[in-house]
Symmetry: C2
Subunit: 334 residues, 2 copies
Amino acid sequence: MSRIRNVKEFAELCGVSTATVSRALSGTGRVGADTRKRILALADKLGYEPNHVARNLRTQKTMTVGVIVPLGHDTGQHLSDPFFNTMTGFLADGLAEQGYDLLLSRVIPRGPDWLQRFVGSGKVDGVIVIGQSDQAGAIEDLARHYAPMVVWGQQTPGQSSCTVGSDNHAGGMLAARHLIERGCRRLAFVGPVNIPEFGARHAGASQAAIEAGVADSLVVLPSHLEPDAAHADLSATLRGLPELPDGLIAGSDVTAISALRALAEMGVRVPGEVRVIGYDGLPIGAYIDPPLTTIDQQLQSGARHLVELLLQRIAGETPGSVLIEPRLIVRGTS
Amino acid sequence: MSRIRNVKEFAELCGVSTATVSRALSGTGRVGADTRKRILALADKLGYEPNHVARNLRTQKTMTVGVIVPLGHDTGQHLSDPFFNTMTGFLADGLAEQGYDLLLSRVIPRGPDWLQRFVGSGKVDGVIVIGQSDQAGAIEDLARHYAPMVVWGQQTPGQSSCTVGSDNHAGGMLAARHLIERGCRRLAFVGPVNIPEFGARHAGASQAAIEAGVADSLVVLPSHLEPDAAHADLSATLRGLPELPDGLIAGSDVTAISALRALAEMGVRVPGEVRVIGYDGLPIGAYIDPPLTTIDQQLQSGARHLVELLLQRIAGETPGSVLIEPRLIVRGTS
DNA sequence: TTGAAAGCGTTACCAC
DNA sequence: GTGGTAACGCTTTCAA
C-alpha cells in the first residue's frame, strides 16, 4: 500500500472533489453530514493529513511563531543556556496551548536587515525576540513597520517595539540596597553593561549605591554571558583586584553561578567574605549550594505575557508593553 | 515605500525575469556575473527575501527538523522540564550549525497515527523524538515506512526505529552496585517503570541487587516525572512505608531532586540515613545541595549523535542506532 | 450541497 | 546567459 500524496488522490478514493474534502477536513463550509463523516473516517483510516506547507501558502498563515535569540557578537551564548531554555520551555507550553508551533532559530545577526529578512521569509505569523542583545537598532527598525513582534528585554521611552520584561533599573536598585543593608560597602557589578537590560540593571544598582553614600559609582567587572567564559573572566578579574569587593551584583543568575564557582576555587567564603546576588529567578537557583539570592523576573508569567501580546498583535490589535515588577528573593548567598 | 511582495515585483525592479532572480539568489544555475551582482545588491538594499513557504512547496524541502516530545497520558511533563530543555538546547545548537531550523512541538498523542500525521503534514524534513514515553508502538509503526526519524530513548532488539540513548540496563546496574558498595541493603527504585527507558533502568538495578544477594527483587516507588507531582507522590509513599529504604535509585535527575526535597522535609539526612542516586547527568546536578550522584548519559554528545544520524537519514543513508555508555558520577548524595 | 478552476510565490525545465 | 511557463498541494470563490 502506497501513501496518499495529496488531496486529489484522497478525494478520488472518497469519491468526491478536492473542494469537498478540504471543507470536510477543515470543518469550515457546508458539507453534507454523511459525506463529512465518510471523509473523516477514511482520513483516519489512511492517516491522511493535508500538506501544511501548501495550506500555509494558500491561506497566508502558518500557525507558527518564531522564537529568535539574537546572539550578539561577543556574548558567547548558546541556545543551551539555562536562561533561554527556561524561557523557551515556558513559551513552548504557552504557544502549544493556543495551537501554535514554535520555530526556534538561533540567528547570527549579519547584515543590517537580518530580522526583516527572517519575517519576510513568511515562515512564521509572528516573532518573539528573546533579549535585545546588541541588536536594539535592528529590532526598532523592524518594529516600525512590522506589528506582530514582541521582545523580551529592556523597555525604553519612545520605543516602537512591544516589550515584556522586568523593570531592570528598579531591580538593580533592589539588589544593591539589599547588599548594602547586609553591610556591603565595596560593591561590584558583573556583566556586559553594553546590552540594554544589563546596562539598566547596572544603572539602577549604581544609583542605589550613590544614594546610600557607599560609592561614587558602581565598579563594573565585565563578563561574557556564557557560563564557562564568565567563569574565566571572573577568575582573572577577581585575582587581579587589589582588594576583593564584599558584594557582587551579578547581571544574571548564570553569571552569579559562575561567580560562585570562581570564588569557591579561590577559597573565598560566600556569604562570609563576599555576598552575591543574581538576577532572573531561574528555578535552578533554589537548588544550588548555597541557594542563590536573586531578583526574580517571574519568567513564567513573563512568557505568558509574551504569548498573549503576540497573539493579540497577530490578530491585528496593538497592545502596549508590559513591565514586570522585580522581586527580591533572599536565600543563602547574601 | 511599500514592501516587495514577491519575485515578480522584485524581478521587474531588477529588469530581469523571475527565473533569473531565483537563480541569482539561490546561487544555483548560471547567471551573468554582473547581473547577479546587481540583483544581490538590490535584494540587500530592499531587504527582499524569497518566501520560504512557496519555496518549500516547490522544492519539497523545508530545512526544518521537528523535535517532538510525546507527552504520555499521565507523566504530567511539560516542555519546561529541565531534561527536555537541556536536550532541546543542545539540539538547537547542533541543528543551527547545520543550517536547520528547529520546530518544537508538544504533541499530545491522540488517535493511532498522530505521528504519521505529523510527518505527513510536510512541515519538516525529519523528526527527532525525545523519549518513547508510552508511544513505542506508534513510533515503531512509523519507523517501518518513514526513514528520517531518530529517537532518543531505549534501544530494543529487533526494532525498526533508529535510537540514541544510554544502555539503560547497564546504567541501572551501575547505580545499584554503587549504592550497595556504599552499604545500602534496602534499595528502592523511583519512577514510571512502564516507560521503556525506566523499565530497563529498573531491570538493571534489580538484577544487580539480586546478584549481590541484597534482595529478591527491587521495590518500585511509582512516580510521575513532573517535579511537583513526583514530590507529592514520594512524600505520600515514603511516609506510608513501614521502614524507609536506605538507598534510592531515581529514574531521572529531576525525580532525584524531588526525592531530595521530600526527604529534607521529612527531616531525613542525605546521605546519612538515605543515599540517593539520579540518572541523566544534567548540568544542574553538580550545583544542587548536596551535589547529586548520578548516572551520566552524556546528553551533549547524545544530541550530537541525534543530529548527525538524522541528517544522514535525510540524505538517504540508513545508519544504525547508537548506544551511549553510561558513566557513574559520584558526588555528595551517596 | 457539491464541483471546476483560479491562484498563493517559488523553482526548474525547456526553449531561445 | 536569460525568459516563459508548468507544477508543487492546497483553499476558496463562483456556478451549478
